[in-house]
Amino acid sequence: MSDPLDAKAHAGPRKPSARERGWQQNTLEPALRKSPERQTEFTTTSSYPIRRLYTEADLAAAEASRDPGFPGEPPYTRGIHPTMYRTRLWTMRQFAGFGTAEDTNQRFRYLLAHGQTGLSTAFDLPTLMGYDSDHPLAAGEVGKCGVAISSLADMEVLFDQIPLADVTTSMTINSPAAVIWAMYLAVAEKQGADWKKISGTLQNDILKEYIAQKEYIYPPEPSMRLVIDTFEFGMKHTPKFNVISISGYHIREAGSTAIQELAFTLRDGMEYVEWALGRGLPVDEFAPQLSFFFNAHNDFFEEIAKYRAARRIWSRAMTERYKAVSPRSWALRFHTQTAGCSLTAQQPTNNVVRTAIQALAGVLGGTQSLHTNSLDEAWALPTEFAATIALRTQQIIAHETGVTNTVDPLGGSYFVETLTSEVEQGAWDYIRRIDAMGGMVAAIEKSYPQREIAEASYRYQMAVDKKEKIIVGVNEYVTPEKPIELLQIDETVARRQAARLRKLRAERSSAKVDRALGGLQKAARGKENLMPYIYEAVKVYATLGEICEAMRAVFGAYEEVAVT
């Protein structure tokens, strides 16, 4: 497959104007002779080289950037809406979840009462891996990294008194995404909410699990089948729901560079599109329900360039590679989360500052929704105090800084436009390499992205160890300090969850559960869409663990080759 940038993939030679050459000679050189620069080389957080000064000569050299276009029009470099935040602010969506469904339901209601505009659910590790809270491998992990959800009964409590017809909900769940989504839809149905109108986002991005976060259950082939099943189901039944959030966040957290995050995420997106086309789904019917999720790391301009380049790459891929004709398929919509891995355990109040700057990059990059991390998250899940400051940070950016008054305020900046083009070209280079390997599933099986990330992450750590990169409070400006107050997860959560599961298993109809699980397994052996079978199983209160196990018996389990 040819791609649009083949001919102009690499920047041409930089040709400074006569005025610029004059400036170099008359002003710059004497200044450098008098006082040399602090470093011989300046680089981004991702070790990407940055030049002293950007001028129109750089724009001319980076061909692709000459015309950033207009917001709301392809290739959407300046944003996907013509008016951006002048019409509607981004959705302030704080990721939350801990303990039991009751605990998290309380936190949700607290956040909504304080002006948060959307919900986002964090699940605990057993749930993410498809195990019930009483599974032996769940020992010590129930309710720790998120909320424990083992059945529809838990989901009903999680969204108690939260009207799903009005509130949009994001759910960070991947391998068992189809099951958790079925539970959510069942709660919506019980509340009388119209599936055609409900909106929210299912993360459902299995490829980045193999690449980075490693919460996988099944091998790639059946996992991709489940993802495409949800696409097809969503197309028919929940047209306003984002059936996937194609995520670079975790790739970056695993240690990738900004260009790797961008490239691997968009190539993942292309892989999903290709598998959906392979199923026979019409591109313009499913593509508008695809959404993205990026990290906001420390390097301010590198991040902004990344978001702008992302929109441009996706728009070109959708039109030229996949022949989408609906503008709704072309526009890349994304959620941003500030970088968890940038937070320091040392001097944790400094994290408020880091997060504010990262969040500002997300906003200047044109994000549709945003999560700001809390100051204590290098230690634990956030306390209510810390979570409130994080939300207030977004409100201050939205209402006090004035950055929302105009669309894409950095558009036309020599530096930002040039960096946008360079980041875009770097990403296309990776995308072409992965195409040549036969696509992302093939690349993952060769451990290609895993190895690239491991390399980048090691290089970064060495640079920090050698103080080539300064982290305030960690390798410079270190001061003695006292421990801060942390959220304690109640150790009785696991026992309470186990008791609830015992009660559930005693009270439900085991004949109905057996029938539903049997039907699901039979369908899993064939080619049918599994969503209706999963939905049936969920409705008769089959547990998450039982449903995932029924599919595991057919699909098998994935084991990775560890790259170190």
Partner: protein, 134 residues
Amino acid sequence: MTERKIRVLIAKPGLDGHDRGAKVIARALRDAGMEVIYTGLRQTPEMIASAAAEEDVDVIGLSILSGAHNTLCPQLMHLLHDKGMDDVTVLVGGIIPEADIPALKQAGISEIFLPGTSTQDIVRFIHKRLAPAH
């Protein structure tokens, strides 16, 4: 006298898949001249104890970020004790609230390395700790 390389098992217990730290440490210790075996993800304490015995390691490094350390660490220490492996140095790296550290040390963990630790500090710690034996 032939110098035996220091042997280290880097292990990821529990369900968590965040292996960035484990992999960076594995490579840094290898670059410092140690023999490093990485278990891969989702190892139970039983699997870790068996691997440590089989590989005859001097050091076990556990990477835990999920909050499950209070459950997993004592389990591993019991198993090592039962196997007569009390001389193995067990280190933990990851997200460990300071309030939990005394109990982990009590259980036999030699040292806990918190976020922000330089890989070179860990290398130095291991060399110092194993100095008399090597």
